[in-house]
């Protein structure tokens, strides 16, 4: 057992173990983080979708289809429109009938009365009960407990719906929602042969069975049926997350490689010290095998605790960070598959195998003659095996971390580019300093020589420090820019409520109410409801091709149409021209034709292109228009977004209502009640929770990148420590020599200062250049602005000072080496 602890007495081994622990920490953290994110993502996607698989149709699925799902958790959801009547008031609502399995994922948020706090519920209403949205209460002027008639059936309102887990956040349906139990559906009698319904058969199941069933179902779908799985849905919306995981993988790979470098340096130091011993053993007649077991045997077992502790901390961090918001930390551990557990354990060991073992094996190759050599060098040159191991380690690690060949290629390409670019950038800097040093003061000259004359150590150090500083700066700056951007877009007084259905005559009341409660109003958008009826004269049902059938739900609903003379700030024209800006010979101010600008995504889904003529049916009749531009919309902007924007005055003859948003200070819910009491027909949406969630995500992402940057910095410092440890003897000797030759302590200190300042300063310069180069296009893309200087650009300088400080701290021993040791060094 004591053999297990013996290596720990050696500083180089401690360093090696620390490097392995850091690598294990970073690797396991990123592996578990990805498992967790993917799990969460698919859970939240499944939640939004309603299940892992959704078979949507306009009538009940075929018995064979249901039979295929027999073994699984299935829920049937039926959506339809109906009218509620109460005291002569009619209200069109979106009704949903759910069975006892609903919802398969997520929870329903309910409240006991109009302004009460919400609570969660895991199943739908019991038979005989009815849940309604706030607006139903407001419009019909009723309260919880009232009995309402749905069709022929009287149901008692038992709760208010705040949010359904699968309720999409768009403004497709502005009708208030009600939920009832499907057991009551037949009794209502609303399901006649002509009723338009949308039936969703949602399934919860394992990934593998979903894949199999979706293949089976896909073979004989009816024309009215569509199939969507959580994978399809996740793939669509996971784009940004993929990007994020690419960067996380890259950072972790870099951390691992830096730790690998530290491991290699520390091992070299260990091997150098033990080479004499190995030679001695050989000269005593020990076989290679004996040398191996004596000198290497326990080495591997001794590093295991470091790997386990590092890995455990990494996993702990992720489950802690993820659990804290979630209250059940255990889910993280469950989210990781055995493969991920194995990877988290194996990846750091791979690092040891690649960076320590080949070097250690040099001990076995030590010839007996080594014992007769005066100096410690010679036979311990690097071998091809070491080179091969060092080169294949990143490939293998990247293979473990990434899950697609494309991503693997990207990560390796980036690593290779960095490996070539950075030395190419930094080495001339150091060489130039060396040349220029002839004119500098003595300490500067001596300091720079120490760096420029040891490229094998200086270059990896410089590269790793530069990388770490770059990543930290980029993480800091883009993180803070992103947050700032979000904050400006979503200032603390960002609209937290949306109002729909405002009529012209409501304006005085509405504005008075805003003023009274110090609410901040946003611009008003006119809204007309309409249904798309023809595309280029062809009825949409025929015009939209079969493969575009999934977009039918857009066609079956009222679309929200608006008009505007200027392009909303968060929108961008992809093709065509914005209203009123036409070709030269046309009048520049007045549109010559009826123009509409269409959102790009819906245009793609419906197969619309520039110049297409559209006809909408509105309450006043037909509205004809031509597509003159396609727009990209920023859905994150939390402003009202519209699929169809008409030129101004196009909607003048329609029934216009208004949409706006406003910010209301935190406070009493009665204020809203007051508004709804005065304007009962309006629709009021609270988007506060949505906002909070979005800001949370950004904050977490920038925290994660800062953590990665810090780990990177730490591993770079480990490389520095390993390099200093390896060169300690020589440094001590050089310092002692300077003292023997008459150098003052002050001079030696100054040399050290300059040496580390040069090293870290060069890295800081490199990091500044790279981060500026990287930030330029990044800023252009993210924030539509060029270079913006921020305090973060000073971070490399601060880090350079920290590195200098650490370097000086680590060199204390060499600094204090007495000159007397020169006379005795042969005995040490």
């Amino acid at each position: 057992m004591s053999k297990l602890f013996r290596p720990w007495r050696d500083h180089s081994f401690q360093l090696l173990a620390l490097a392995l622990a850091i690598a294990a920490f970073a690797l396991s953290a990123v592996i578990f983080l990805r498992a967790e994110l993917e799990h969460r993502f698919s859970v939240s996607t499944a939640e939004a979708l309603g299940g892992d698989l959704v078979l949507a149709s306009s009538r009940t699925p075929e018995p064979e289809q249901l039979a295929q799902l027999a073994e699984l958790r299935v829920s049937q959801i039926i959506d339809f429109s109906t009218v509620l009547v109460h005291d002569d008031t009619l209200l069109l609502v979106s009704a949903r009938a759910v069975d006892k399995n609903y919802p398969l994922y997520g929870k329903i948020q309910l409240a006991d009365n109009r302004f009460a706090d919400e609570y969660t519920q895991e199943h739908g209403p019991a038979p005989g009960e009815l849940w309604v949205a706030d607006q139903v209460i407001d419009r019909l002027k009723i309260s919880v407990g009232t009995a309402l008639t749905v069709g022929n059936k009287s149901l008692k309102i038992s709760a208010i719906i705040r949010q359904l887990p699968d309720q999409n956040a768009g403004f497709y349906s502005m009708n208030p929602r009600i939920v009832l139990n499907s057991a009551d559906l037949a009794a209502t009698g609303v399901m006649g042969p002509g009723t338009r319904i949308r039936q969703q058969t949602v399934v919860a199941a394992e990934h593998s069975s979903i894949a199999r069933i979706s293949l089976e179902l896909d073979l004989n779908l009816r024309p009215d049926q569509t199939l969507e799985t959580v994978d399809d849905a996740a793939l669509r919306s996971m784009g940004p997350l993929r990007q994020l995981s690419l960067w996380a993988n890259l950072a972790v790979l870099l951390i691992s490689l830096l730790c690998g470098a530290a491991i290699y340096l520390a091992t070299s130091q260990r091997v150098r010290r033990r080479a004499k011993l190995a030679g001695l053993l050989r000269s005593f007649g020990a076989s290679r095998y004996q040398v191996m077991t004596r000198l290497l045997g326990w080495e591997f077992l001794a590093v295991l605790p470091a790997v386990i502790v590092g890995g455990a901390l990494g996993i702990g961090l992720i489950s802690g960070a993820m659990g804290s918001g979630n209250s059940n930390a255990a889910t993280t551990i469950i989210a990781a598959t055995p493969f991920e557990w194995l990877t988290a354990l194996l990846a750091p060991l791979l690092l040891w195998l690649a960076f320590a073992l080949p070097r250690l094996s040099a001990l076995v190759r030590v010839p007996a003659i080594e014992v007769l050599r005066q100096r410690e060098q010679g036979s311990l040159l690097s071998t091809n095996i070491e080179l091969l191991a060092a080169l294949s380690a990143p490939v293998l690690l990247a293979g473990l971390l990434t899950d697609s060949l494309g991503e693997l290629g990207k990560v390796l390409g980036l690593i290779a580019a960095l490996g070539v670019l950075l030395p190419a950038l930094l080495w001339p800097l150091i060489k130039g300093l060396d040349l220029a040093s002839a004119r500098l003061s003595l300490p500067a000259r001596l300091a720079i020589r120490r760096l420029s004359r040891r490229p094998a150590l200086t270059l990896p150090l410089l590269v790793s420090l530069t990388l770490a500083m770059t990543v930290l700066t980029l993480a800091g700056q883009t993180g803070s820019e992103l947050l700032k951007d979000w904050r400006t877009r979503l200032p603390s007084q960002a609209p937290n409520h949306f109002v729909l259905n405002l009529f012209d005559r409501d304006m005085p009341v509405f504005e008075q109410w805003l003023k009274q409660h110090e609410a901040l109003a946003q611009p008003l958008y006119p809204v007309v409801r309409g249904r798309l009826s023809t595309i280029n004269g062809v009825p949409v049902r025929e015009a939209v091709t079969k493969e575009k059938k999934s977009s039918q739900r857009h066609l079956n609903r009222d679309l929200i149409l608006t008009e505007a003379s200027t392009l909303p700030a968060s929108n961008q024209i992809n093709s065509g021209q914005w209203h009123g800006i036409t070709t030269v010979n046309a009048s520049p101010t007045k549109p010559t034709q009826h123009e509409v600008s269409v959102e790009q995504e819906i245009a793609n889904r419906l197969g619309l292109k520039l110049g297409d003529k559209l006809e909408f049916v509105t309450s006043r009749g037909m509205l004809s228009t031509t597509i003159t531009s396609l727009r990209e919309v920023d859905w994150n902007s939390f402003e009202p977004n519209f699929y169809f924007i008409f030129a101004s005055n196009e909607l003048a003859n329609e029934d216009i209502t208004w949409i706006t948003s406003f910010w209301l200070p935190d406070g009493d819910g009665a204020r809203l009640a007051e508004l709804l009491h005065e304007l009962p027909h309006i629709t009021l949406l609270d988007v506060k929770t949505l906002l909070d969630k979005a800001q949370d995500i950004i904050a977490q992402a920038s925290q994660a990148s800062a953590l990665l940057g810090a780990l990177l910095m730490f591993s770079a410092l480990l490389v520095l420590a390993a390099g200093l440890l390896g060169g300690q003897q020589q440094r001590g000797r050089d310092n002692a020599l300077l003292r023997a030759l008459g150098g003052q302590q002050q001079l030696i200190k100054r040399i050290l200062w300059i040496e580390f300042l040069c090293l870290s300063g060069s890295a800081a310069l490199g990091a500044t250049i790279i981060s500026l180069l990287a930030l330029y296009p990044l800023n252009e893309r993210l924030f539509q602005q060029g270079l913006s200087l921020s305090p973060w650009q000073a971070l490399p300088l601060v880090l350079a000072l920290i590195v200098t400080f650490c370097g000086l701290l680590a060199s204390r021993k060499a600094l204090q080496q007495p000159a007397l040791s020169l006379l005795r060094s042969h005995s040490s």
Partner: protein, 250 residues
Amino acid sequence: MPQQATPLLEVSNIAKQVQGPEGELTLLEGIDFTLSRGESLAITGPSGSGKTTLLGLLAGLDTPTKGEIRLNSSAFSALSEDQRASQRGATCAFVFQEFHLVADMNVLENVMLPLELAGREKPAAIAKDWIERVGLSHRIRHFPATLSGGEQQRVALARAFAVQPRLLFADEPTGSLDHANGKRIIDLLFELNEHSGAALVLVTHDPQLASLCQHHLELHEGKIINKTFADKNLQDKSVIEKHIQKSSNT
């Protein structure tokens, strides 16, 4: 060469004690002698007798626990470490058994180093001159790792003499060299020393080498057991006795 009587190094009854694991340990005791400009002193004795310890004290790399060392008539051993270093830089030079060249510097830079530390004018020209004198002009840009032991020690000699020291310390300068190379180094050392007029303190366990010096101290377990100083130091009894012995023999 005329002998100068000015005392350069005065050692009065110094002792060195250290705290060992088993209490106080006396490494040196009762060392007492004077060395004048241009003179040479050999310190001999078996391994562990305290030669290196004494050299370290003389060069001010360490301080005695008792007694006093005066360099140029000022109390060297009473100075602070930095003051001793600057005195050393101005007066002394070293040749070590293990050469101790700076690995990151080429031959020229190594020889220039003490000149630069002392702030001398035109260090490169002086260094080149000395490198030529030790016969290594063709290797001026080479790094120590590419030189043989003998060549490295020649660079060390050039480095030592380049500052024109008044006092040169050599601790077993041939200890890491083979016989032929060792002999070349010794020849060179004495030749250069003769020209420079520096006083020389040479630690060796080679009696033949010791005999090349004017004066001789033999140590045993930290004490002088034999002190042979050339004629002029008449106050020294043992020398007088030897002298008398010698003259009576002839």
